[in-house]
Amino acid sequence: MSAETAILASLLLPLIGALGIALAGQAPNLREGITLATSALLFVCVAQLLAPVLAGMRPELLLFELLPGLPMAFRVEPLGMIFALIASGLWIVNSVYSIGYMRGNREKNQTRFYVCFALAIGSALAIAFAANLLTLFLFYEVLTLITYPLVTHAGTDKARAGGRTYLAILMGTSVVFLLPAVIYVWHLAGTTEFRAGGILPTAMDKGRSRSCWRCSCSVRRRPALMPFHRWLPAAMVAPTPVSALLHAVAVVKAGVFTVVKVAVYVFGLDQLSGATDWLIAMSGFTIVAASVVALYADNLKRRLAYSTVSQLSYVVLGVAILAPLSVAGAALHIVAHAFSKITLFFAAGAIYTAAHKTEVSQLNGIGRRMPWTMAAFSVGALSLIGIPPFAGGFSKIYILSGAMAQAQWFALGVILISTLLNAAYFLPIIHAAFFKPLRADDLAHPHGEAPLPMVLALMTSAGGTVALFFFSAPLLQLVRQLVPNAW
């Protein structure tokens, strides 16, 4: 398979899969079979692209012109490769998990769920491979709209209100901030293509800083930087697999992915110096504030959501520091956080399915009944705190050393404080689960582990979190291509 066909295949496969899923709506086993087969095939297709990218090639696919001079085009570069690998790889795990979750909770409209899910993954891949800002923006909007039915899946008033917040903030900010930024970049540079070193002409000082301001404005809300974070907790009304993959991996990652991509390929790191102080301040504030909110959240998914808000700001912070090392750390943190957070969400969903518990305060002693789930949860939590030998360990170290190299003491302090806060909101859960005794009313309601597919899925992602720490060579190689002078 040539690289070009591989790109086309990875963009079309989810579409075809969605069609198949829709047609097989009456036969659940066949439908889930198609989901699994599509996700596996998709991963194979995406993996095909890894070797050429590692070899330094940048496979391209040009479809047609959206507007004169603005083609819909795709090009695989290291960062997009990383993102595509995570999205497609975790989709397999997530599909297995979804089967357990959706059946275990007897959710309605399962066909719609799987169809939208496949389409969402397809648009996430299109975002990953987008060769210019316009293509990226287009699929951004598609992703938002496709995930809307997933967020409102339950169809209750609460889900509807959550969906409204979700849509209003995401659509509003992308139309009001991102769109003019895209057009302005086009207006200034005459192209919106992503190129190494940036595309904005160096001479245009006034225009540059202005457009820089706009661009950063525009992308800051998808990673849910405060005060634009509210959609993320609102979106937690969705079924857990959606929260897990879409809101820990695809949607928010698409946002931070765009931040990194815009910084590296539209502005170029050298040009940004001095223009990001406010971004450091803002993301620093978000990291600490969101961690504090998480500390007081009793609903487990809500706590995880705020933890996501805080963790993603690490990525923004890493970029804003502008040291090559910290940008590399930011890219790595996208991966580390994806694996860790999906594990945590999987565990939350497993607890809900098996024990029907949603609050942190109800979790006393649950580790004894669901040892696998809680072990995986611990792995994810420790990784996010930044403890080796888990994936989150080394990305944090990179960001830290970058901050030191640039003498960004504020950023340094923020990371240290938030690490303590991370520990403060995760460790009590682990402690309660394993060391506190079961409560009396729990004894009356015996339950065991969650359904097998769910346990399998969460063990796999937890295993991935560990494996990433030990077998990170290809990943590091990709990152090195992204930021050549990182080390």
């Binding site: 012109e65 959206l66 507007l67 709209l145 139309v175 003019p180």
Partner: protein, 503 residues
């Protein structure tokens, strides 16, 4: 081939003949066949002209009616803009006519069918004539043909309020037409010619005289009435709401668009940019009126309870985008206007056709279709999945979501605003599209999240004859949102030609 030379005449004459034929035949089915055949041939003529324009020298085809050479005789003059609008008008007619056969069956008494087709043919003739003619008085004549026939078409609606709506439109439209004819009279007085191209040359000598300015004022107000520029839009919402569905769809997609075309024609071809945009405060006035339309009308739309009325107000708001593009006085601004003419035409056409199918699907067999109020639409997505999904896609285009035609228009509007360094305008354009999100989402929440009324859960999708043409337009809104070579290419060429002719 000699026939190809006469395409400009055939374009108008064929629908014109079909209308009296329909009356003579006095039979619904035969009238339908005649007028539809004429509309399809007109569409073919428009495609032929569009292809010819691509090769014509200077991008203009001139045709002397009765072989009386211009400026003495009546000249039909097709340039890039005219051929693009002809394409839209005749294409919509060719699509709406077959659609309307199944629709008027339920909405118009059977013995009036042949009149409906006759009036439709006349309305089409008028709109095509306005677009193609190069003669000022001829514009007025065709304007009256299209207006009078559209009053009748609107009055054919089953709801009694259709009569008042038509009457209101009649009064407002007549005032507008009177203003236009007064304006043309002044121009004739000062230049001694009615041929637009000739007038454009002669007007230079008398540019700064008061009668010319008065003519400009009368024409602007008169045409603004016809195109429903805020605050001259009052006739539009009721007319669209109570007219038969097919009429609403056709008029929404074409009538106001042709009026915009006339405005562009007078501004750029006759008066010239320097007079209209540099010496008078017209751009500022138009800018503010457009902004009020974009915000005001869209805000009113949010609170409507009748779906047809909601989208009628949205049309007033969308016209604001078109006139906003005009007020920039630049190639990109004009491109935005022209491309939005087309884009909004197909998106709104699709929405109104789908609503037409919706009311018929909801009605019991043989009964008069009910008004599409929100309480009747609850749970629509379960009952008519294709119809509701199509309306959502049309709505996304009104918002300007990328991948739909609305995005393309908005792109050019914003580029035009950035060119002028009007950053606040960029903000205004984008904020106003959030209002569109609000009214489109009202429909989404009612259709997708409310449970259908008890006893009406069964699927009742509109018949295929209604669904198919509507979905053709829905697909077009996505197709032309992704592949813009036809629409943007034509609009850009047309805008360049207009701006060049205005200098």
């Amino acid at each position: 081939m000699s026939l190809a030379l006469h395409l400009p005449a055939l374009q108008v004459v064929l629908p014109l003949i079909s209308a009296p034929l329909a009356v003579l035949l006095r039979h619904g089915g035969l009238a339908f066949a005649t007028v539809t055949a004429a509309a399809w041939t007109a569409f073919a003529c428009a495609i032929g002209l569009w292809l010819q324009i691509g090769q014509a020298e200077g991008g203009v085809i001139s045709y002397a009616i009765g072989n009386w050479p211009p400026p003495w005789g009546i000249e039909y003059r097709v340039d890039r803009l005219a051929s693009f609008v002809l394409l839209l008008v005749s294409g919509m007619a060719a699509l709406v006519l077959p659609w309307s056969r199944a629709s008027i069956e339920r909405e118009i008494p059977r013995d009036l069918h042949y009149l409906y087709y006759a009036m439709f043919g006349l309305c089409l003739t008028g709109l095509l004539g306005i677009t193609i003619t190069g003669d000022a008085f001829n514009i007025f004549v065709f304007l009256e043909i299209s207006s009078l026939s559209s009053y009748v078409l609107i009055a054919l609606g089953r709801d009694r309020r259709a009569l008042t709506a038509a009457y209101q439109y009649l009064i407002m439209g007549s005032i507008g037409a009177t203003f236009i004819v007064i304006g043309i009279g002044f121009l004739y007085l000062m230049t001694g010619t009615l041929n637009l191209a000739d007038m454009a040359l002669r007007i230079r000598e008398v540019e700064n005289t008061r009668p010319v300015l008065v003519a400009l004022a009368f024409l602007t107000v008169g045409i603004s009435l016809k195109l429903a520029l805020f605050p001259l839009h009052q006739w539009l919402p009721s007319a669209y709401t109570y007219a038969p569905s097919a009429v609403t769809a056709f008029l929404a997609a074409t009538a106001t668009k042709v009026s915009v075309y006339v405005l562009i024609r007078f501004y750029f071809t006759v008066f010239g940019e320097s007079l209209v945009f540099d010496k008078l405060p017209l751009p500022q006035i138009m800018l503010w009126l457009s902004l009020i339309a974009m915000f005001g009308a869209s805000a009113i739309a949010i609170f409507q309870d009748n779906l047809k009325r909601l989208f009628a107000y949205s049309s007033v708001g969308q016209v604001g985008y078109i006139t906003l593009g005009l007020s920039f006085d630049s190639v990109n601004g004009l491109t935005a206007s022209i491309v939005h003419l087309f884009n909004h035409g197909i998106a709104k056409g699709a929405i109104f056709l789908l609503i037409g199918g919706l009311v018929i699907g909801m009605a019991k067999a043989g009964a008069v279709p009910p008004a599409p109020t929100f309480d009747r639409l609850a749970g629509l997505a379960k009952r008519m999945p294709l119809t509701s999904f199509g309306i959502v896609i049309g709505g996304l285009s009104l918002i300007g979501v990328p991948g739909t035609v609305g995005f393309v228009s908005k792109w050019y509007l914003i580029v035009a605003a950035l060119e002028k360094d009007q950053f606040w305008l960029v903000g205004a354009i984008l904020l106003s599209s959030l209002l569109a999100v609000a009214y489109v989402w009202r429909f989404v929440e009612v259709a997708y999240f409310r449970a259908p009324p008890v006893g009406q859960e069964a699927r009742c999708e509109a018949p295929l004859a209604l669904l198919l043409p509507a979905w053709l337009l829905v697909i077009a809104t996505i197709w032309f949102g992704l592949d813009t070579s036809l629409t943007v290419g034509s609009a850009l060429d047309a805008a360049q030609q207009m701006v060049k002719s205005g200098r």
